[in-house]
């Protein structure tokens, strides 16, 4: 308890210090910066979180709740030469990560003026692939709840485009049509280990994004110890994704994407003591805003991942571990003025298709309900209740029941500076 309190105080002090220090930074242009301090009161009854060395699927668990630092986020936006838009977002979680503050995204977007009804966009740097229809706020935070869906949680954990993305948009509304269409292609590296976490601890629902130089997990002390990192490139092979968007007025947005990291599963990383993960998936999503008040979002994602046998002393072996996975969710949100209510249902599944002994599986579903209120321009409040029921085979391998019902109630107080 004392240790818990000490940790809590340390995190709170860290958050407050960053919050106070930020406005004193040399101000290039005050409007270019933002900072958000997010403090939480958490009640959780889940099994030990995968973030703390266990196999729970939420951020907090029965040993890690109480007053917590949600995050301290800082961001910088600046425009150069009228058509170059620079973005950098960094976050501190106050947990076990190697640097107390680290980047989640840093990129420049070149966005020339449309030519006729066509417009090109080029993004360079570190950024998220355009999969999530929930994560619309600065810092890639969900606009509807504290914890994004299982799909977008996984994107936040294991994926970052470190490379270039080109978009071509047809702005039909400029020509009196109701639709707009876009197509995109991206090439990237440093994503050889996407899939590691999903195949081990299954799907999860939380808002702890992995940072650019950061790791996720517990260094020691838990039954599933080990820090995982994803943004590495050991096989010198570029990955790609291809996607498309369609928008109908302001009411409907459709997105599809095919993703393939093209990692070589025979490439062994001595740093990570494991083989690379070849991860491919397709995703589709729709966001429907029929009125000013209502928003409905649905997303689906399905794919496979494959890795070589990950024994440190077995680098010459060519056995593979293969996995299939899919997940989907439906979110309904209602907003009036400063109040927003959201409810979401997630369903997910992962199972192992290739192994020489143990076959891991994860099947489950989750309900999430959130209420948000903007108190004023600086302060906001979020209450979120989350229940996840899952059956993760790997829990049995460490002597725990495979089935778990985990619940989490969070109250977040956010200060935007």
């Amino acid at each position: 308890m004392v240790r818990l309190l000490t940790g809590t105080v340390r995190q709170a002090v860290l958050g407050a210090a960053l919050g106070v220090a930020l406005p004193t930074l040399p101000v290039m242009a005050a409007n270019d910066f933002y900072a958000i301090v997010d403090l939480r009161a958490v009640a959780a009854d889940g099994v030990r979180s995968f973030l703390n060395g266990g196999l729970g699927e939420l951020r907090f668990d029965d040993q890690h709740d109480g007053v917590r630092l949600g995050s301290v986020s800082i961001g910088y936006r600046h425009d150069f030469f009228d058509i170059v838009h620079f973005t950098a977002d960094a976050v501190a979680y106050g947990d076990h990560d190697r640097s107390p503050l680290d980047l989640t995204e840093i990129y420049a977007e070149v966005r020339p003026y449309p030519w006729n009804s066509w417009r090109s966009r080029l993004k360079l740097g570190v950024f998220y692939a355009p999969i999530s229809l929930e994560n619309r706020l600065p810092g890639w935070r969900s606009a509807y709840s504290l914890s994004p869906s299982a799909i977008n949680t996984w994107i936040g954990e294991e994926f970052r485009t470190i490379g270039a993305e080109y978009d071509l948009d047809w702005l039909g509304r400029q020509r009196g049509h109701d639709w707009e269409f876009g197509a995109m292609a991206a090439a990237y590296g440093w994503n050889d280990f996407s899939g590691t976490l999903l195949s081990t601890s299954g799907w999860a629902i939380h808002d702890r994004q992995t940072t650019l130089f950061g790791r996720i997990g517990e260094p020691d002390g838990g039954p599933v110890s080990g820090l995982r990192e994803f943004h590495r490139d050991d096989d010198q092979r570029l990955g790609y994704y291809l996607g498309g968007t369609a928008k109908y007025l302001d009411a409907l947005e459709l997105r599809v994407l095919h993703y393939d990291n093209r990692a070589n599963p025979n490439t062994f990383s001595y740093a990570l003591r494991g083989f690379a993960w070849r991860t491919k998936f397709n995703s589709a999503g729709v966001r429907w805003t029929p009125t000013d008040r209502w928003t409905v979002i649905a997303q689906w994602l399905a794919g496979t991942t494959l890795t070589g046998d990950s024994g440190f002393n077995d680098a010459e072996r060519t056995d593979y571990y293969g996995f299939e996975f899919h997940a989907a969710f439906v979110l309904v949100s209602w907003q009036r003025g400063a109040d927003r209510l959201s409810g979401r249902y997630d369903g997910f599944e992962m199972h192992q298709t290739q192994s020489d002994n143990f076959f891991n599986t994860d099947r489950g579903h989750a309900w999430t309900f959130a209420y948000q209120r903007e108190l004023n321009r600086s302060w906001s409040l979020v209450v979120e209740a989350l229940q996840i029921d899952s059956s993760l085979a790997l829990r049995g391998a460490i002597g725990e029941p495979t089935a778990a019902r985990e619940r989490e109630l969070q109250l977040a107080l956010r200060l935007r500076l």
Partner: protein, 234 residues
């Protein structure tokens, strides 16, 4: 064809199904006075239930050249909550339009419509002088940062124009006698063929005509989603 309606906008294209009515309102009203006093128009735009429709652009164009009555002025199209306000303007050829940005964030206004191509580099507040719209037609505006921002400016040579008020009415005064084409247009009109509506009428001096446009379909709903527009999308 009316040059105002010539852009390739689907909404603005006139086809065979556009209703064109011939009216001789002037003849009906003749004899109201012997002196050569110009005519007045009280135009109504009604929906299927007979209720007035607000915000419809009304333009009366003489079929013959009018004595010069060029009164261009400067109109304002503000930017608030990532929307152009008003979203639809009508101005006379040669007029200026001011584009202040009342949002806390920067916008980048542009048009690639044939009657007026321009761009205003990223700005907030009131940075640029009015943009002069010197050719008639429909100009569609966008913001290169926020694709959901769409605005429309109808530019007409005629000095007789306006938008219907909340009761669906527009009063036009001082029209010289002659033949006129009266147009009702709006980007969200969804009449048969997607076009605008037109009436042809003949006005005699010293008359007061009351033409009525009947919309067969409601304006297309185009939600503005103020809540969602606070966010810059990934």
């Amino acid at each position: 064809m009316n040059r105002l309606l010539s852009p390739t906008s689907r909404n603005m294209r006139i086809n065979a199904t556009t209703r064109v009515a011939a009216a001789t309102l002037g003849a009906a009203a003749a004899g109201w006075g012997a002196s050569a006093v110009a005519a007045d128009l009280a135009v109504s735009v009604l929906d299927g239930a007979g209720h007035g429709v607000a915000g419809i652009v009304i333009i009366a164009e003489s079929d013959t050249a009018l004595p010069d009555k060029h009164t261009p002025h400067t109109a304002i199209m503000d930017q608030q909550h990532m929307q152009f306000v008003p979203r639809v303007l009508v101005v006379q050829t040669g007029s200026g339009v001011d584009f202040p940005n009342s949002d806390q964030i920067q916008h980048q206004v542009y048009s690639f419509s044939a009657p007026k191509t321009f761009k205003l580099s990223l700005y907030a507040g009131h940075k640029y002088p009015p943009v002069i719209f010197d050719r008639p037609g429909l100009v569609t505006l966008g913001c290169n940062i926020h694709d959901g921002m769409i605005g429309y400016i109808y530019v007409t040579d005629s000095p007789f124009f306006g938008r219907s008020d909340d009761s669906g009415q527009l009063q036009l005064h001082g029209l010289p006698a002659g033949n006129y084409t009266l147009t009702a247009a709006h980007p969200q009109m969804q009449e048969a063929g997607g076009g605008a509506l037109q009436l042809h009428l003949t006005l005699a001096d010293n008359t007061h005509a009351t033409p009525v446009f009947h919309l067969s379909r409601p304006l297309r709903a185009e939600p503005t989603h103020d809540g969602d527009r606070r966010w810059s999308d990934y």
